[in-house]
């Protein structure tokens, strides 16, 4: 797959070149780990940049380097043209850590006040921004409640609010929906979408591909400390048709003649290898099935439709399958692991 490597460099907010990070071993048996092996990427202003990768790929290390928490062993990285870790760079970054920990004596409002002060904000700005952000993340009305009583979703929303307190130009979100239930994920996702729509530059680290696919404009896939692919989300999930077809059918009981449904479907579709067919019984409708079939020509599709119809099977839907981000991800990661 051909992938465009970087965004427009002139407008790059995040610029990483040949970044390496090596965690040295110890006398006590800890081995040396090469967490990053020459990573290069860039993210432009207004982009929602997704960083994807399996566990241990080096995503968190890369984010720590961008935030100045960890120093690179080699290579260079800058934010807004400033070296990462510099005060000037950090002043323009808002960060939501993977599992935010707010001291238990805080309320949402006092926590925002605290983090606002840490960002060097004035008391007036803190009050104004707190009101705005509590409203934005849906915590207004619960702002004087101790965080001890907060759910994980409320914590994450509070985390988003604190990340936005000083109105940063770049938002770094590390697994923002990790550990949340679907409702919580949805709440957080909606907030991020609003920020995206407001034109914020967002650097999103996640291993939830659907989330990235829904939110991000560009992605990079990291595996084994190396970028194995990056590009626009459209390029990464191209939508190109494949040789797989999905057919949803409703077959009468008499159509199977006492034989196994799988054998009958293979016969009607004209398949000899059972691995080319996946059958799913659709919930609540014992006669309805979804068939995922490998059919590499239009002729074969037409023949299959004819035979199904002749057997009295109703065809509710027929759709050729397209390539997803997950497919691209799996393909790239597998290739990376194989080459390693």
């Amino acid at each position: 797959m051909t992938i465009s490597a970087t965004a427009d460099e002139a407008a790059a907010i995040v610029d990483v070149r040949g970044l390496k990070k090596r965690y040295s071993g110890s006398l006590w048996g800890r081995k040396q780990v090469n967490a990053l092996r020459g990573v290069s990427l860039s993210a432009a202003a207004g982009e929602v940049f997704g960083l994807l990768g399996p566990n241990g790929a080096g995503k968190t290390t890369l984010i720590k380097i961008l935030l100045g928490v960890v120093r690179p062993s080699d290579g260079a990285a800058s934010l807004f043209g400033e070296p990462v870790g510099s005060t000037a760079a950090r002043r323009r970054v808002g960060y939501l850590p993977e599992s935010l920990r707010v001291d238990r004596h805080h309320t949402a409002r006092s926590a925002l006040k605290y983090y606002g002060r840490l960002s060097g904000m004035s008391p007036n700005d803190i009050t104004r921004r707190s009101d705005e952000l509590l409203d934005l993340v849906g915590l207004k009305g619960r702002d004087k409640e101790s965080v001890k009583r907060f759910s994980k979703g409320m914590y994450q929303r509070l985390g988003l609010a604190q990340a936005l307190m000083h109105n940063p130009d770049l938002l770094v979100l590390d697994e923002p929906t990790d550990g949340l239930d679907p409702v919580g994920r949805n709440e957080v996702r909606r907030v991020i979408e609003r920020l995206r729509d407001d034109g914020k530059t967002i650097f999103l680290n996640s291993h939830i591909l659907q989330e990235v696919e829904m939110i991000c404009t560009r992605v990079a896939i990291l595996s084994k400390g190396e970028i194995c692919g990056s590009g626009n989300i459209d390029e990464m999930s191209s939508g190109a048709t494949t040789n797989r077809v999905t057919i949803e059918v409703a077959a009468p009981e008499t159509a199977f003649n006492g034989q196994r449904a799988e054998n009958k479907f293979m016969e009607w579709i004209g398949l000899s290898d059972s691995s080319e067919l996946d059958i799913t019984v659709l919930a609540g409708q014992s006669r309805s099935h979804r068939l995922d079939v490998t059919l590499d020509s239009q002729e074969k599709i037409d023949g299959a439709v004819d035979r199904l119809r002749q057997a009295g099977v109703s065809i509710a839907r027929l759709e050729p399958q397209r390539e997803t981000l997950e497919d691209t991800f799996m393909k790239l990661v597998s290739a990376s692991e194989e080459s390693a």
């Binding site: 965690y23 928490v69 005060t87 850590p97 993977e98 001291d103 605290y114 840490l118 960002s119 770094v172």
Partner: protein
């Protein structure tokens, strides 16, 4: 600074949200509530107490003489003795008969207190011949119907004190009685206001502060705050903090300071509470107490720096507590070992008095030793051993000639502050290889010796007595001469009961003759300076300056009182004097330094201010040009000069930790003893250093110098911070207490060393912590 202040402020919020803190608050409030009912009642000092006696033996002898000597029957002492209860009178009669009778202080105080209610013993005519204090004279002028009960009893006490000079300690005119919830304590705890303030400020408050703040709150604080740094290092917290535009070093320091919030909040509660209780209930408004707040937090921060570093390294509160506890134990052990070395190795060797005879330097030590400097070996030769357990004491020697000195060794006795057994003047001479030879019998309870002209003068609790140097040397067999007169006198004295009573009273013995006029006694606090030519004596006795001159009429032994001046201010304050030429320096605790004409006793120029925190320890003239060296309780030697009516404190001379000074007149040199047993010798003209004496160290002193002292510099001396607290609360740089010999002794507070040692330690620990935190990947 806003981000860092936010971190500190957040720590306060976190502390206030802690249940442990509120538990500590409740404990503090309960303690303060328990202390609040303490109160005081002030009244005139009337009743006698055991500790009021400066010289009980002298009192016993004076009263016995009052009964036994017909000429004393109508004297004040005689009338008082006659009015005593039968049992006491019977015992006094036995004393008068020469029997060894021990009368308990309790019996004597009960008897004297009985006399306060029934004044039939008083006779105006008898008391007319007695020196009376101004207060007594004023009370005597009041008619009986103008005087209330308390004042009447006070007057009776003063009459008794006046009739028995040299017997009683100086006490303030008003006393404090402790009460609890309005009830007086069953046991009598009456002390005067000065003592009361001193006890509260120097002992009680520092004790509470040291134990509660220095131990309990430190431990509690470590338990509570040990998690602050490890909590900060949690990924969800640390990465967020480090992503903010803050410096890692300042972030760690802010967290460290914020961690002290817990202790600060507790300390403020306790100290302000104690301040208010002491002020509202005891009328001791001591704002210096508030200094305990920063000192206590400082002490906590020593331990917290260890906890923070351990927490930073291992990210575990349990390990942080464990490491801090081990560190605290090490501090304690090193502190105890250091204290033992101070008490048993260094303090006994400290020089407390110096003299130079010809080329020979002698010193008396705190450990009751007498040492002579051996120039060839560069060491101090011990004539009498110095030891921490030695209850004997050696009087500062005096030069009898270029090759002989005189001193005395007072044998300590547990129940006898004036020593047990006879007290002889000891003569040590070069010809006898500095072996002590007994010479004249000294007056009982002699506490100081002086060389005045060709005489030796002794001072005891009430008397000044002279003997010729010649007779002293003769009695020691140093010179041959006509000793008939002294031997005759000895025989004559040995035979009479009066002589024995005279001895008990501290009167002149052997070849000694009393110098003080009739009815005059030296009362504490006292100090004496003498004319090297032997023509005059200047003394301070209980706030009264005296000048005595040798009578021209040789038939009279008592010297003439030629000038007399009562000083303003509290008479019971510690006083030292020195005379240089015609100028007398008077240095008293919490009073300005006075420069006074030594002849007329009239003030010269303006007085010089001396910080109230400084207690004058001793003073010495430097030459005859109005120059003085004053040793103060901060261990510094201050140079004071009076010239043409202008007085000036020029600055300090010599090193720190000065212990004694001696002006060697014939060589015009000033010897300064410092740092235990080292000497600096200054040429007085220009005060330039002419030589130093740094004696070789042996045995335990070597261990101390190369083992214990470096260890005490590395390990912070947290225990000694208690001295810093006591110094700050009391406003003094030394604490005064009576040693087993009954003498007031000053122990200097070690104020700065523990502060420096602790500050350095915190600096090192936090520097390591900051470098670690700033350079490490998290």
């Amino acid at each position: 600074m806003r981000p860092y202040l936010a971190v500190i402020r957040d720590s306060f919020h976190a502390a206030l949200a802690s249940r442990v803190l509120w538990g500590a608050f409740v404990a503090i409030w309960l303690l303060l509530a328990a202390l609040f009912p303490f109160g005081v009642r002030e009244d005139l000092t009337t009743d006698f107490r055991g500790q009021d006696f400066d010289n009980g033996t002298r009192m016993k002898a004076m009263l016995a003489r009052g009964l036994a000597d017909p000429t004393q029957k109508d004297s004040g002492a005689g009338r008082i003795a006659a009015a005593m209860p039968d049992e006491v009178r019977r015992q006094l009669e036995l004393v008068g008969n020469g029997d060894e009778v021990r009368i308990r202080y309790k019996q004597l105080t009960d008897a004297l207190n009985g006399l306060l209610d029934d004044e039939s013993w008083y006779d105006e005519e008898a008391w007319n011949n007695i020196n009376r204090l101004k207060e007594l004279r004023e009370l005597d002028e009041l008619a009986d119907d103008e005087i209330d009960e308390s004042s009447r009893r006070r007057r009776a006490r003063l009459r008794i004190e006046a009739a028995l000079p040299g017997v009683f300690e100086a006490r303030a005119s008003r006393s404090i009685f402790l009460t609890y919830a309005g009830m007086e304590f069953p046991a009598e705890l009456a002390v005067d206001k000065l003592q009361f303030d001193r006890v509260i400020n120097q002992y009680v408050l520092p004790f509470i502060i040291d134990w509660l703040l220095g131990f309990i709150f430190v431990f509690l604080g470590i338990l509570v705050t040990a998690s602050v740094i490890p909590d900060m290092l949690q990924p969800g917290s640390l990465h967020l903090l480090l992503s903010k535009p803050v410096s890692r070093t300042l972030l760690l320091l802010s967290k460290f300071l914020g961690g002290c919030a817990f202790v600060l909040l507790c300390v403020i509660q306790l100290v302000v509470g104690l301040y208010l209780v002491a002020g509202l209930r005891l009328d001791i408004w001591n704002p210096r107490l508030l200094w305990c707040i920063p000192v206590s937090v400082f002490l906590f921060s020593v331990f917290y720096s260890v906890s923070a570093l351990a927490g930073l390294r291992w990210r575990s509160p349990i390990l942080a507590i464990g490491v801090t506890t081990i560190f605290g134990t090490i501090c304690l052990v090193v502190g105890v070992i250091g204290g033992l070395f101070d008490g048993f190795v260094k303090r006994p060797d400290e020089i407390r008095g110096l003299t130079v005879a010809g080329q020979h330097v002698f010193a008396a030590t705190e450990g009751g030793g007498l040492i002579r400097y051996d120039e060839d070996e560069n060491r101090w030769d011990e004539i009498f051993d110095s030891s921490a357990t030695n209850s004997d004491r050696v009087l500062t020697p005096i030069a009898l000639s270029d090759s002989a000195v005189g001193t005395a060794q007072v044998r300590g006795g547990r129940f006898n502050p004036f020593g047990s057994g006879p007290l002889d003047l000891l003569v040590l001479s070069e010809s006898n290889e500095w072996e002590p030879e007994p010479s004249l019998r000294l007056p009982t309870a002699t506490s100081s010796l002086f060389r005045i002209g060709d005489s030796v003068m002794s001072m005891n609790t009430g008397e000044l007595a002279l003997a010729s140097v010649q007779s002293a040397l003769e009695a020691a067999g140093e010179v041959e001469g006509d000793s008939e007169s002294s031997e005759t006198k000895v025989e004559e004295d040995d035979g009479g009961w009066l002589s024995k009573l005279q001895n008990m009273m501290g009167g002149a013995t052997d070849g000694f003759t009393s110098v003080l006029p009739e009815q005059m006694a030296m009362s504490p606090p006292r100090d004496v300076q003498v004319d090297p030519e032997g023509q005059w004596i200047v003394a301070i006795s209980r706030g009264r300056l005296l000048r005595l001159e040798r009578p021209e009429d040789s038939s009279s032994t008592a010297w003439n009182l030629t000038a007399d001046r009562v000083l303003d201010g509290e008479a019971s304050r510690r006083s030292v004097i020195a005379v240089s030429g015609d100028v007398l320096l008077v240095a008293r605790s919490e009073e300005p330094l006075l420069l006074i004409d030594s002849k007329s006793l009239e003030p010269i120029g303006e007085s010089l201010s001396l910080s109230d925190s400084l207690v004058p320890e001793s003073a010495s003239a430097i030459g005859d040009q109005g120059k003085f060296a004053l040793i103060t309780s901060d261990g510094r030697c201050r140079l004071i000069e009076s010239s043409d009516g202008t007085n000036e404190m020029i600055g300090t001379i010599g090193p720190r930790e000065v212990e004694a000074v001696f002006y060697h007149r014939s060589a015009n040199e000033l010897y300064i003893a410092h740092h235990i047993d080292q000497l600096d010798v200054l040429n007085v003209d220009g005060l330039s250093l002419s030589r130093t004496i740094r004696p070789k160290l042996v045995s335990w002193r070597l261990v101390d110098k190369y083992g214990i002292s470096p260890l005490r510099m590395v390990i912070p001396q947290t225990g000694e911070l208690g001295e810093t607290t006591a110094a700050m609360v009391s406003g003094k740089s030394a604490v005064a207490f009576n040693n087993p010999s009954g003498e007031e002794e000053l122990i200097r507070y070690n104020i700065f060393r523990p502060v420096i040692s602790c500050a350095l330690f915190i600096f090192v620990m936090m520097s390591i912590g900051c470098v670690y935190f700033a350079t490490r990947d998290f």
